[in-house]
Symmetry: C2
Subunit: 110 residues, 2 copies
DNA sequence: AATATTGTTCGTAATTTTGCGAACAACGAA
DNA sequence: TTCGTTGTTCGCAAAATTACGAACAATATT
């Protein structure tokens, strides 16, 4: 599926939970913000931005990669991390659809 | 702040991470979907919907309450759970703002 | 008052997450 | 080839998460 095809954004609850879980830590939100703002994309700069050990940063990056929200590429001797734009859009649509599904009127709770 | 006032949705990364963390489990997504769709709002019905022990359901509901996404009210002998609409909207705005913050052009990654 | 219904809390176990330093690997530069 | 730079992986420890059954509490009903 290329970026121009119409996409089916039927929510997959498991996938939504995986995206959410990946975002469920302040350091990982900070990393994603950093990358989304294009401040830089190299490990070293990400590492400098965070008050934690580089082994831990590397671990968080690995989790974000596995969630699909970012990619990692070797550009020797550095490693370049980028937002995975297609999955980013997918996550955005998932969350948006999820939140928008709240019904207006509620006999039970209103 | 009532529901009609303009709200400041400056993203608080810690809060965004807390919302995300609360959503980071399939059972909790299922619970939120169930409540958002207003299928019912009582513990018993939520419990019936999920293939896990009631003690575990109760625990997940507690976490969702602590995240602010839902409320819990005793309606003896039942307990009624509802989406916390104000915080729900806040979470929706946080996620949306977060995803929308991705810059279009990227000298580093494109 | 005794009993049934509805959920929460407790105690426990297994697994996962988070974090760190040290060791290691890969590559470029001298 | 040797050295320095850049990140990853390993091994470990501490803490948090997930899950369950049993016990408990609160209220309604009989």
């Amino acid at each position: 599926m290329n970026c121009c095809e119409k996409q089916d954004y039927t929510i997959d609850n498991e996938q939504l939970a995986r995206f959410a879980k990946a975002m469920g830590h302040p350091s990982r939100i900070a990393i994603l913000s950093f990358l989304a703002n294009l401040d830089s994309c190299y490990f070293g700069d990400i590492n400098n931005e965070l008050p934690i050990a580089k082994a831990t940063v590397s671990q968080h990056l690995k989790e974000l990669k596995e969630s699909g929200l970012i990619t990692g590429t070797i550009e020797a001797p550095k490693v370049k991390y980028c937002i995975h734009r297609e999955n980013w859009a997918k996550a955005q649509a998932y969350f948006n659809t999820f939140f928008a599904s709240l019904k207006e009127k509620d006999l039970c709770c209103d």
